[in-house]
Every structure is written in structure tokens, then in C-alpha cells.
């Protein structure tokens, strides 16, 4: 059940809201939490009921370990818990990949079985590893099983994050009162709508342009020219941002409807003027996890630049591998690691200060964007050969190619956006306009949370102080627009990870 689908929006969500908020309004707070927990399990089972047992088993196992750690901290028990989680994730996510590489290395005809990846396993595994480590470090109050189960399975964040820490959500669950926060409902609806529009109008409209070139290259067909390759790469660059940040906005908005505040996942990352800042603004909850549970335990910034660089590379390679069992993801992570290392080196050079601030920022934005776009080529390509062909095209080795033909028409662009890319079968002139529009949006508009005045740390929400009527009316109209456009639901990119 996708957030951007009729079954979710017209059936699941209204029923879940009605039941949970009614119980809460009647003062049955505990019952409302159980109801929300059951709704979350139904949400998960709607994807594939066969893996429901895996989710419940994982919750039960980790709850037992967390309870034991809360009573008596033990590093051995913590490592045992982490190991079980990692083995489980490794089996489902990496067994086939390892088998294939083993066969390729040894030249054997070993055929690795194809294992279906259970949805959300990457996310709920990280979430539970974080609570195991934190509880072992600082044993505190043992959560109730109901609260723990809801913390892991809470459906807005279950499938693709944000990766929520226990100290962000468990206290909210524990301290929930029967008060219905209408301001949170209003903000949640608006934030959800912004995410829905990002997904339907922008990400889905850009998708066919990226797919058209990347899929052709992956199939080994003719290499694109310079212009086509860059246009497709920028289409994907924007698609993945609008797709994933749209999903995160929806998740945060949904949580608000139920009265919970989730952490932010994006903070205008494409405005970053260097790669270090990019990672402080992109997939914040993953960056935070990698920093706190991998980079710092490995030594962090200690030991000078070489040691720090080695740690950065290792963490980014693991971060890349976390996204999927393919060498392309590892290379993507490695490239980002390399760029971060270079960024650290650059910061130690005195030359950077010679540029005027505006020129420095513009140059930084351009270089960061180019670096991120080039790295996305590995992330998007299904094969290594495909990625290398795309890169060769982007460096002009396959000729200049041709810019898309056709009239540049704002009406055509509006129709492409209104229909979410339906009917797009080639790189037409709308691709240029759409990429230009996407760049304007990511460079000049504020992040969604700033538009609606949302901050995860603020418990007493307030409505936007600027243009509240316009924001309410626009988001209401946009919600219906999105609802009408939902005839073609499409999956979110980050579900595959």
C-alpha cells in the first residue's frame, strides 16, 4: 500500500485516523496505541503478509535483548543482538550478491539463489541496532512492549524512514495524552500534500526522461550523446530528490496527523555548496546513524587526516552498500567518500579564502552539484557497463548528440506535470523545461518544513505565520489535484533499499 495510492488515502488512512483519534478522544490512550500498532502491522502485511512474521519476530527478539540490556548492560549481549540483526539483513539483502561474487571469483558454476528482500528490513534493522547500542551505553527505562512495537512498526516511518531514534519517538508514545492537537493535524495535512505533489507532479514527471536514457544504455543499445546524457542525469538527480524528500514529507505529515513528530530527513541538500554540507542536509537520519554508530565508534576525527580519511571512506562504502547489493552502490558510496576527503583537504588549504564569498559559494554549488550528479550515474545504472557508458557520454566521448526537439511550450510542460509524465516516451523539449524548473525549485524554494513552520523538537506546533490562508487553500487544492492524478501510483525509489 503506497502513500500515493487510493487504497491508502481513501480506505486505510481515514479508517486508521478515525479509530485511533476517536479512541484517544474518548480518553482510551492505551487502546489508541494498540490500534495504531495493529494498523501499522496491517499496513506492512498489505505489502506482503509472508514477511509479517519476520517483522514481528525481529521486534520480539530485539525487545528481549533491549529489556535485558536495560536491566543489566552487557557488551557481549549488545554485540550478539547486533550480530543477529546484521546476519538477518545480510542473508536477505546480500546473500545472492555474495554468492554471485564468490562464483565469479572462483570461476565455479555455483548458482546463488534469488532471495526476496523483505520490505523495510534495511530501515527497521538500523533502527533496532541504534536502540541496542544506546541501551547498552546508557541503560535506562525499559520500554513497554506495546511502545517498543509501535516505535519500530509505526507505519509512516516503517518502509523508508526517517530512521527514528528511540529517544525521539518512545518518549512521545509514552507521554501521549488524550488531547487532540488540531494544529498538528493541519500542519500534517499540508506537509503530506507537499510531499504528495513532489512525488506525483515532479518525481514522476522526471522519471520517464531519466528512464528513457538509462534503461536504453543498460540494455547495451546505442550510447547517448553529451546533451542527452546530461539531461537524463539531471532528470534523475532531481527525480530522486523529489521522490525521497517527498516520501519523507509524507511520512512526517502522516505522523503529525497521529500526533507524533518525526525527525527531518532533508534540509535543501541541493543548495549545499560543498559535499560535507550536502551530507548534513541529505538523508539526515541515515547520515546521523552512520556518524553516531559507525564513524565515531571507529575513531571519528581522531588520529589525523589519513586515519580520518580512511574512516570516512569505510563508512561511505558501507553506506553505499547499505543502499543495495551491487558494486554500483559501493562505487557511489566510495565516490562520495572520496569527495568528502577532498573537501576536508580543501578546507585545510588557505587558497579557498582568496575568492569573494559569492563567487566561492557559486563555484561550490556548481562543483557540488556536478559531483553529486556524476555519482548518481552509478546509483541509477543497473549495470557497471551502463554507468561507464553514461559517464563516457557525459564527458563527450560519444559526441555532442542533439538537444531534444520540439517546441518549448509551457502548456506542454504543464500537461506533462499534470499527468505525472504519462505519455512521455522520449527526451522531448519538456525535459529541458522540467529540469530547469526542478533546479529553480531546489535552489530557490525553502525546504518543506520551513514552508509549514515544522520543527521536530518543538512540541507546541504553530500554524504558518505568513500567508496562512493562501497556504491552507493552496495545499487543499493541491491535495485534490494529487488525488485526481493518482490513477497511476508509482513506487518510491527508496523502497528498494
Amino acid at each position: 500500500m503506497l502513500f500515493n495510492s487510493y487504497p491508502f488515502l481513501l480506505v486505510f488512512l481515514p479508517i486508521a485516523l478515525l479509530v485511533v483519534l476517536s479512541l484517544r478522544g474518548l480518553g482510551r490512550v492505551s487502546a489508541s496505541l494498540y490500534a495504531l500498532c495493529i494498523a501499522s502491522l496491517i499496513f506492512y502485511a498489505a505489502w506482503d503478509w509472508r514477511f509479517l512474521g519476520l517483522l514481528i519476530g525481529s521486534i520480539c527478539f530485539n525487545y528481549l535483548v533491549v529489556s535485558a540490556l536495560a536491566r543489566r548492560p552487557s557488551r557481549a549481549l549488545m554485540w550478539f543482538g547486533i550480530l543477529v540483526n546484521v546476519v538477518l539483513l545480510g542473508f536477505f539483502k546480500y546473500a545472492t550478491f555474495l554468492g554471485q561474487n564468490f562464483a565469479a571469483l572462483t570461476g565455479s558454476d555455483f548458482s546463488a539463489p534469488t532471495i526476496v528482500l523483505p520490505l523495510a528490513i534495511s530501515f527497521f534493522t538500523l533502527q533496532q541496532i541504534s536502540i541496542l547500542v544506546d541501551t547498552a551505553r546508557e541503560p535506562g527505562r525499559q520500554p513497554k512492549f506495546r511502545d517498543y512495537a509501535l516505535y519500530v512498526s509505526f507505519f509512516p516511518q516503517l518502509i523508508a524512514g526517517p530512521i527514528v531514534r528511540h529517544n525521539e519517538l518512545l518518549p512521545q508514545i509514552r507521554d501521549l495524552t488524550s488531547r487532540l492537537d488540531l494544529t498538528a493535524v493541519a500542519l500534517g495535512a499540508t506537509l503530506f500534500t507537499i510531499g504528495l505533489i513532489k512525488k506525483i507532479a515532479l518525481a514522476d514527471s522526471l522519471k520517464p526522461y531519466a528512464d528513457f536514457v538509462f534503461d536504453t544504455v543498460d540494455k547495451g543499445a546505442a550510447a547517448p550523446g553529451f546533451a542527452e546524457a546530461w539531461l537524463a542525469a539531471f532528470s534523475y538527480h532531481l527525480q530522486i530528490y523529489f521522490d525521497f524528500s517527498g516520501y519523507s514529507d509524507m511520512a512526517i505529515g502522516l505522523a503529525l496527523l497521529f500526533g507524533f513528530r518525526l525527525p527531518l530527513n532533508f534540509d535543501s541538500p541541493y543548495k549545499a555548496t560543498n559535499i560535507i554540507d550536502f551530507w548534513r542536509q541529505w538523508h539526515l537520519t541515515l547520515s546521523r546513524f552512520l556518524r553516531d554508530y559507525l564513524y565515531i565508534p571507529l575513531g571519528g576525527n581522531r588520529g589525523g587526516l589519513p586515519a580520518q580519511s580512511a574512516r570516512i571512506m569505510l563508512v561511505m562504502l558501507i553506506g553505499g552498500l547499505w543502499h543495495g547489493s551491487s558494486w554500483n552502490f559501493v562505487i557511489w558510496g566510495g565516490l562520495h567518500g572520496l569527495m568528502i576527503v577532498v573537501n576536508h583537504l580543501w578546507r585545510r588549504l588557505p587558497t579557498q579564502r582568496r575568492l569573494p564569498p559569492l563567487a566561492s559559494q557559486t563555484l561550490g554549488l556548481v562543483l557540488t552539484t556536478l559531483g553529486v550528479v556524476l555519482a548518481w550515474v552509478f546509483f541509477r545504472s543497473a549495470t557497471l557497463d551502463g554507468a561507464l557508458t553514461m559517464l563516457a557520454s557525459m564527458f563527450g566521448l560519444h559526441g555532442l548528440g542533439e538537444l531534444p526537439t520540439g517546441d518549448l511550450s509551457l502548456l506542454g510542460l504543464a500537461r506533462t506535470i499534470a499527468l505525472g509524465g504519462v505519455g512521455v516516451t522520449a527526451l522531448d523539449s519538456n525535459a529541458l523545461l522540467l529540469v530547469a524548473l526542478g533546479c529553480m525549485l531546489v535552489w530557490f524554494l525553502p525546504a518543506s518544513q520551513r514552508i509549514v513552520n515544522y520543527s521536530p523538537g518543538v512540541t507546541d506546533a504553530t500554524l504558518p505565520s505568513r500567508f496562512p490562508v493562501a497556504k491552507a487553500a493552496l495545499s487543499g487544492a493541491a491535495f485534490s489535484f494529487a488525488l485526481l492524478a493518482l490513477a497511476r501510483p508509482s513506487e518510491f525509489l527508496y523502497f528498494q533499499f
Binding site: 488540531l182 499534470a418 491552507a472 487553500a473 493552496l474 487544492a477 488525488l483 485526481l484 497511476r488
Partner: protein, 364 residues
């Protein structure tokens, strides 16, 4: 502002958009969900009484077929499905009894499904069916149905086919499972229709009960076949040859400029053939040639004509179905003089190809 007021404005704006969309859809009704234009019902009634209808300008044969099938008093013996390429073929002129040509303009795979779905819904499953296979129906660049509307009947049949690849969303012109009136695509189309009507561009379908009265427009015969307008019928051979030489710039050529067949559409087509067999329909697959000059140019531009020929032959072999004709005019012995343009063969060419599929009593 109070949160309650904020939510009220949000809700009011949301309802306004839905109301506008529904209002536009209801007013324009481009897929004729609420109202069928009277003209189509009248055309169908005239055809059912054996009266040819002339003077047709921009008719939608899908709608004529919809009304025609709904009013059928008996089950047809043979039904022909295809595109405008087979529309000029008259079963009556060929001496085929109880046969109908239900081909439609731009006939796509979705149209074949749709029309067979209508026949099934009306319990008028014919004993025999000739499917004239156009290569573009396997193009990955086209929606399953090339026009809006009529999705419910299409969907019903697709559900019967049970082809998993259609569970995705790429193949639906715009509508998955919600009532098609409440989609953005339909709202936009409705608004465009209203805009066109306001500008006086949308002409109602015109027709005349006596074809002799008409000097322009198409004529539809009671057997479903179409006589093209005089302008098309009376083109000189030189004009047709020159016209055929422009095929690559024409929508016909552009529609065939793809390199790989859409596997899902192949599966759907195969499932349709299996369903027809299960329903007891004797199916014949046929291919009509292109004008020699157009064929030569199309062949040099794309391999799909050969690929579709191989596919049709394979399907015929697998399902034990007779396969007639080819896209190559030389193999079907159709000369350039037997074409109305680059891809519409005349009756003589089509009849020669379909001869062996004639109903048994005619062959005897």
C-alpha cells in the same frame, strides 16, 4: 488563524477542485459515460436495418460499434477486428454471410480487447474471428487503448485474461480502477473539450441515411465496413506512389519506429487468443501488406515488421491458428495500384489474402 479555520479552508479548497473536475467531466463527457451522442445510436439503428450511412465526418467507430453491438439481434458468424487498414474490406461484397467488420480507426490491442469484451458482455460471441494484426499494436510507446474512455469494458476483459504484467500502471491510458471520471487526465480532456466547444470547433458527427446524397465523408455499410471518402478513393496512382514515399515522415512510419516489441503486449495478445480459443471461437490471424514503396522504406528503417511476422507465425503455430498474409506486398501479390495510400489496401488485395478464411459455406 485558528487550526479549525485552517482545516476548513483546506477542505473547502480540496472540495472545490474535485467539484470543478467532476463538473467539467460531466459537462463535456468525452468518453460518453453519461450520455451517448444520439447520432451514434441513430447510425447503429440504420445499419441494423440494412441501410448504409453516408456523409460521415470524423466518426468514432468505437462508439458506433458500441451502439451496434448493444443492438445486435443475432450473433454474428464471423467478426473481423483490426484497424482502418481492413475497414474497407466488405464481407458482404466478398459474399460472406452473417459477417461483420468491426475494425476501428487506429485500432490498437486495447480496441481488440474492448470490442471482444463488448461482444462477450452482450453474449454475442461469434463462431469465427479474423484478427488483422497491425505491427504497431506491439509498440512499447503506445498505451493499451489509444483513446480515453471505455476503460471499464476493457478492464473487465483484461481481468479475465489475468495477464500479470498489466497489474502495473503503464498500460492504462489513465485509469486504473477508480471511476474514470475522477481522474486528472479525464478532467483535463474534459476541459479541453469544453474549451473546444466554446470556440465552436467541436463539430457534431454528421451523417446521412442515403449514401448517394453525399459527395464527401465516409460511408459505413451495414456489414461494418467503410467506404473511404471520394477524395481518397479517387487519388491518382502517381499521387499514391508519391504519398507512399513520405511514409517515414508520416505518423504511420513514426508509429513503427521502435526496435523492440513490448513483451507485455505480446503476452496480452497471446492471452486474448487463448481466451478466444477457450470461448470456442475459431480464430484466424491475418496481416495486410503495405504499399511497395512504403514497405521498402519501413523495412530499411526498422526491423519490427519482420519481428511481428515471426511473432504472429509463432503464435499461430503454438495455438494451431491459421495465419494469412504478410506485410510484404510482394508476398501477398498486391501491386501498388491496389492501395489507397501507403498502408490502406483496396478490397481486391484484402479479399485475396482473406479468401481462405471465408466462411465454410462460401468456400464450398
Amino acid at each position: 488563524m485558528t487550526p479549525l479555520r485552517y482545516i476548513a479552508i483546506f477542505t473547502a479548497a480540496a472540495l472545490t477542485v474535485v467539484t470543478i473536475a467532476f463538473g467539467a467531466a460531466f459537462s463535456a463527457d468525452p468518453a460518453h459515460i453519461f450520455r451517448m451522442p444520439e447520432a451514434y445510436g441513430q447510425i447503429a439503428s440504420l445499419l441494423q436495418t440494412g441501410t448504409p450511412v453516408g456523409g460521415l465526418e470524423s466518426p468514432r467507430h468505437r462508439l458506433i460499434n458500441r451502439a451496434f453491438i448493444a443492438g445486435l439481434s443475432q450473433t454474428p458468424g464471423t467478426v473481423i477486428l483490426g484497424s482502418s487498414r481492413i475497414q474497407p474490406f466488405s464481407p458482404a461484397a466478398a459474399g460472406w454471410p452473417e459477417s461483420l467488420n468491426l475494425a476501428v480507426e487506429g485500432g490498437d490491442l486495447g480496441d481488440h480487447l474492448y470490442i471482444y469484451g463488448l461482444l462477450r458482455d452482450a453474449r454475442r460471441i461469434p463462431a469465427r474471428m479474423i484478427i488483422v494484426v497491425d505491427p504497431y499494436i506491439f509498440s512499447p510507446r503506445r498505451d493499451l487503448l489509444s483513446r480515453n474512455g471505455e476503460q471499464a469494458a476493457l478492464r473487465r476483459l483484461v481481468d479475465v485474461l489475468g495477464v500479470n504484467c498489466l497489474n502495473g500502471t503503464d498500460y492504462w491510458g489513465s485509469f486504473a480502477w477508480v471511476p474514470e471520471i475522477l481522474t486528472l487526465d479525464y478532467a483535463i480532456e474534459s476541459i479541453l473539450v469544453l474549451q473546444s466547444e466554446l470556440r465552436g470547433r467541436d463539430k457534431p458527427v454528421r451523417f446521412a441515411a442515403d449514401p448517394r446524397l453525399t459527395s464527401t465523408g465516409f460511408i459505413k455499410r451495414p456489414d461494418g465496413s467503410v467506404i473511404f471518402s471520394r477524395e481518397i478513393r479517387e487519388r491518382s496512382p502517381t499521387y499514391v506512389d508519391d504519398y507512399a514515399a513520405t511514409v517515414l515522415e508520416h505518423p504511420v512510419g513514426r508509429g513503427l519506429a521502435f526496435t523492440e516489441l513490448d513483451r507485455c503486449k505480446v503476452d496480452v495478445f497471446s492471452a486474448l487468443l487463448s481466451l478466444l480459443k477457450n470461448d470456442g471461437v475459431a480464430v484466424t490471424l491475418a496481416m495486410l501488406p503495405y504499399h511497395p514503396k512504403a514497405y521498402e522504406l519501413l523495412q530499411s528503417n526498422s526491423p519490427v515488421l519482420d519481428e511481428v511476422e515471426v511473432l504472429v507465425a509463432d503464435l499461430g503455430r503454438e495455438l494451431s491458428l491459421p495465419v494469412l498474409g504478410a506485410y510484404d506486398p510482394a508476398r501477398t501479390f498486391c501491386s501498388s495500384r491496389e492501395f489507397l495510400d501507403m498502408h490502406h489496401p483496396k478490397q481486391s488485395c484484402s479479399q485475396r489474402i482473406l479468401e481462405s478464411a471465408a466462411p465454410q459455406d462460401v468456400q464450398d
